[in-house]
Amino acid sequence: MTDQGLRSTVLLLLAVAVWAVGVVGGGADPADLLGAMVGTAAPLVPLALGLGLVLAIGDLDLSVAGSFSLFGMLLLTLASAGWSPGLTYSCVLVLSVLLGLFQGMLVARVRVSALVLTLAMSMILGGIAILLDSNLSVAAAASPDRCVALPCPGDGPVRRTLPEDFRIPLFGSPLLWATVLVGGSEWWRRKSLWALQHLAIGYDRRAATLAGLSVVRLRVSGFVASSVGSFLSSALLISAQRGGWTPSMGVGIELKGIAIAVIGGTSISGGRFEPRNIALAAAVWMALDPLQALVEWVHPQTQQIFVGTVLAIVAVLQTRRGIGLNEP
């Protein structure tokens, strides 16, 4: 069995174990619980894939916390301004690409620190998301007919939803999107020369430069993928209308996405990217969410301890493999 296959098996067993806890310990319907687990994990998969690719090329993107919140708020803002669904989604998608290009060029060509730049961008974008939320509240107060907020402003944190016609059937199916993205990413990773070059620069940037690879172009494309992944995840979540949207939705999501990517086999030091395992890791991470209502001893702290333990074990294993062996 290959190393990737071994990781897949372990992750699958972990997910099955968590599901079994819910069925046996919580008395949940097996099919319903499986649907809940997958449905909770699927929207995060695009973001985790994008972050995984950035890690695999040896970079880091913390801006997804801010961009995730901002993209959702932009969709709400443009929807409340009367824009059509097609134009709204297209514009925010283009913005996500431009954001990725901007960050990628600063990091790869100008050589700004990825950690500092993306952290700064996260704060800026998150602040803009809060501003947009404030504007929506003001607009809603002034013109209740245009209000898309539920509950009404002034009743505490406002959780906003998109109008019904924005729930594009495709975007309403996070599982479908996650499946297509994971399948496409796996095919790309295995077959594409471009994917091979991405992994090469993650493994040894100097060797890649000497081989004549376009390291700048490849790094920029990684940041674009991360930004687009953030947009897709926010669009999937907000379109699925899961409890509404607030500007703080992105808080902590960059760490969650990075942790999912690492548990899914992405090498911290770069050079390895396994989309299938990232999706399985998302399922393992998010699997405990539905269990909280079913099993008494499953609560957010348990989830944190469980995931943190898995992450620590993965980090130790990766470090151990890095000593003496050439595989990333």
């Binding site: 100097r206 000497l210 004549g212 690879l213 700048v216 050439n326």
Partner: protein, 250 residues
Amino acid sequence: MELKGVRFRYPTFGGQHGPDIFDIQGFPFAPGCCYSLRGSNMSGKSTLLRLMSGTIPALTGGVAAGSLLGPNHETRRLPVAGPTMRESGVATVHQGDPLFPHMSIWDNVRLTRPHGARLDPHGARLDQKAVKTKLELILERLSGDEPRRAENPLGTLSGGGQAVIRMLRAVGWGYSLLLLDEPTTYLDAGNRSLCFELLWDSWTRGATVVFVSHHEPDHAELREGAVSRGFRYHEIDLADKQLLDRSGEA
């Protein structure tokens, strides 16, 4: 390729720059020729090849001036980027170039595949299938290594085997200008012979070769191979910061 007004200085401590490593007013590399580049240690031979391939000053810093007239007659002002030169048809083997030992042998070779397949001397396309077939033949003949498959990790090959793969990666895809810096250093007779075989194969496509070596038998073999195949052979010297063609000298 033609060099025009090419100068380069390495950076030193404190953001200053050292003296010019070379100051080449002009030197043409004609198509279909082999240039055997000699020079004393520290004369800048490897630096010149790295400058022509675009890997410095990207990796080391430094100041480069001048221009290159590329294989496709495009003029590029220095410094140029490695990918730009690769897209122009320039391939390189640098001394001690690191490869990717965890990747398969085939992945290491196809990593530098150009956009669009080129033609071999018989007019056949140098696509992935053709190059992979050549790789499999080479893997059966590597000296000092057990037979390997193209899917095996590169790290399972000996240093000599990896050097041959490094050569194939540069010469196997039909690039028109080959910059080879000590490609056969420390190789045994069997693998050295394989490297030259790969070189003759690319040479017949009309490629231009610039070959650097401290090993006199390498220069002798190049000269003999060029003359026997009816190609032009030049001995050039990098001395006193200039490139001099010594071919006409006794």
